[in-house]
């Protein structure tokens, strides 16, 4: 097929809207772009003038899927601005909560949003007839993660116990111990999941790019660490703008980002490539079982890296619960004194590195806010992947071309909720 025109349009919710436009003439790409008509800039404007105590409540509402990460990152930026270091207990509880968010988000993505592509059934509902047990398994694993979120964060959605300084309410040790058993008892479902994803054939495609994530010699970096570029090494979070260079493009209201090259990748595969050594042994075994070699340059394998991270987060949660119980949870009460300051928070969200920067005046009012979300950072890289992929698949039937394109975009787990399951395709010349 030498001529190919396609517009892939997302049915939108108010939070986001995205399209893919591809125009190929005589085998050459004339136009290829991915638009996301969604801007977090408005949320930044909403933070201005508010008290440092309020801002995490605002940012927790930016996204219901990544609410823990947004809240955590916001709090870290404020604590950094006020020169405060939380206790080991608080950091461990935050890590446990973050693990819960990673598990639920990754399970949602791999089971509900990408698995239907492999069966060509359009949505998870199409899988119910022939693969009901698979869907139920995904639901069971999601439920465990959401209940861990409720136990530590105070509720399933938009956690309320995460505060600046410490948790407003600790989980009970006996409840944590009971939850540890639930995590251990879920292992058969994890093993079945690995078997299931092993049975799915990921498209073959490779394009090496720059991979950026947090990194930490002590652990697989999700909660904190330096920012690592696979090209340029490490910088501290406060220097994030030296690594993340945002730029405007005419076709999207969302900024794109580059670093050493003209695009880079964030998310599970970037973390896997940058931090493989720190993965839990069971996660490494899972990678081997699933054929995810290190390093991996196939962006479709981001889904597989999410399965590997799910195993890591299960194991890390069990370890954190053991540590929290043995240290005997203590109630903390911390009231920070407002002062002028400037801080950056960087945390891994399921989809990639999230940055919040805040400046405070002497009364603790927000005078500057900058939030950089993972999906914006991935856009330029998705376009570059598509520019490499599309000329090589033009001989396939049109439906197969479109599926390969959609699967590639979905592999990045873009955080425009509707992008993942209600894409509609219409041909420009039809």
């Amino acid at each position: 097929m030498h001529d190919f025109h396609v517009g892939i349009e997302h049915i939108t919710r108010v939070e986001g809207h995205g399209n893919i436009i591809i125009d190929v003439k005589e085998g050459k790409i004339r136009e290829l772009r991915m638009d996301i008509v969604e801007s977090p800039r408005f949320f930044e404007a909403m933070a201005l003038g508010r008290s440092y105590k309020e801002v995490a409540h605002i940012t927790s509402r930016i996204c219901g899927i990544c609410a823990v990460t947004h809240t955590t990152t916001s709090i870290k930026a404020i604590e950094s601005a006020l020169g405060f270091e939380p206790s080991t207990q608080t950091i461990k509880l935050r890590k446990l909560l973050l693990n819960a968010e990673f598990i639920q988000s990754h399970i949602l993505h791999v089971y509900f949003l990408t698995a239907p592509d492999f069966f060509r059934v359009g949505s998870v509902f199409g899988m119910v007839k022939d693969n009901k047990e698979v869907v139920l398994r995904g639901m069971r694993l999601k439920t465990i993660a959401n209940e861990l979120c409720a136990l530590v964060g105070g509720r399933h959605i938009h956690p309320i116990t995460l505060k600046i300084g410490c948790f407003s309410k600790n989980p009970e040790s006996k409840d944590l111990a009971a939850f540890k058993k639930r995590l251990e008892d879920a292992w058969p479902d994890i093993e079945e999941s690995v078997k299931f994803f092993k049975s799915l054939k990921t498209p073959e495609f490779e394009r090496e790019t720059e991979y950026i994530s947090l990194t930490n010699t002590e652990e697989y970096a999700l909660y904190n660490g330096n920012i690592k570029s696979s090209d340029n090494g490490e910088v501290e979070p406060s220097g994030y703008l030296d690594t993340v260079k945002e730029f405007m493009v005419t076709h999207s209201t969302s900024k794109h980002a580059k670093s050493n090259r003209d695009s880079y990748m964030v998310g599970a595969l970037a973390r896997f490539n940058n931090n493989y050594d720190q993965l839990h042994p069971k996660a490494k075994e899972t990678a081997e079982k699933l054929g995810l070699g290190h390093p991996c340059y196939n962006p479709y394998m981001n889904n597989v890296a999410q399965v590997v991270e799910t195993v890591h987060c299960f194991e890390d949660s069990i370890k954190l619960i053991d540590e929290l119980i043995s240290a005997d949870l203590k109630e903390e009460k911390i009231e920070l004194i407002p002062k002028a300051g400037h801080g950056v928070g960087a945390t891994e969200a399921p989809r990639g590195t999230l940055y919040h920067e805040h400046k405070l005046d002497a009364n603790g009012k927000i005078t500057y806010a900058n939030y950089i979300i993972p999906t914006g950072q991935n856009l330029a890289n998705i376009e570059n992947d598509l520019k490499t992929l599309v000329p090589n698949i033009l001989e396939q039937p049109k439906d197969d071309i479109i599926l390969d394109i959609e699967m590639l975009v979905r592999a990045y787990d873009p955080c425009i909720s509707c992008a993942t399951h209600l894409m509609k395709v219409k041909f420009i010349n039809e």
Binding site: R13, V14, M46, K142, T143, H156, I157, S417
Partner: protein, 160 residues
């Protein structure tokens, strides 16, 4: 309906988008009321599929959400789950239809799927902001009464 059956009320929406967050504002208001023991209320935010986990063991679920019904701002409308399924295939209805309709559909996979209703409120202004439009602020008593009446009269349990 048996008095011991669990009823779950979930407000959904985005608090940062003015009237879009009406479901959450309504839940905050309901928290001021003493509800029967078998009624649980939740701020569902923009939780998408996470909402499923709020419904385990519920016989009845009421969602409160901003709904584009073409009526005057603040108008309150009740849909049954059967209406929801028919709308699902026809047109975009709730402003969270991507999530809500799919969540409702997937509850069919639960061991005992709950009966689901939506209390929909016609929004006036969807824009960046944390306040409600005057029309929706004025509609709040109607929204709360609608939900409480539903609990008391149809579900045969009383609040105080």
């Amino acid at each position: 309906m048996n008095k011991i059956d669990k009823v779950v009320i979930i407000g959904i929406g985005n608090l940062l988008l003015m009237d879009e967050g009406i479901g959450i504002h309504a839940i905050n208001e309901l928290e001021e009321h003493k509800l029967p023991e078998n009624v649980d209320i939740y701020d569902g935010g923009t939780g998408g599929f996470k909402l499923i986990d709020l419904m385990h063991g519920a016989a009845r679920v009421i969602f409160i959400d901003a709904v584009e019904s073409g009526k005057a701002p603040g108008t309150v409308t009740i849909f049954s789950s059967e209406d929801v399924h028919s709308i699902y295939h026809k047109k975009k209805y709730s402003l969270h239809d991507t999530d809500l309709m799919e969540v409702i559909k997937i509850t069919e996979l639960l061991e005992a799927p709950p009966k689901i209703e939506i209390v929909g409120i016609q929004p006036k202004t969807i824009n960046y902001g944390t306040t409600l439009s005057k029309e929706l602020r004025d509609a709040m008593p109607d929204i709360i009464n609608t939900v409480l009446n539903r609990i008391e009269k149809v579900y045969n349990v009383s609040s105080t």
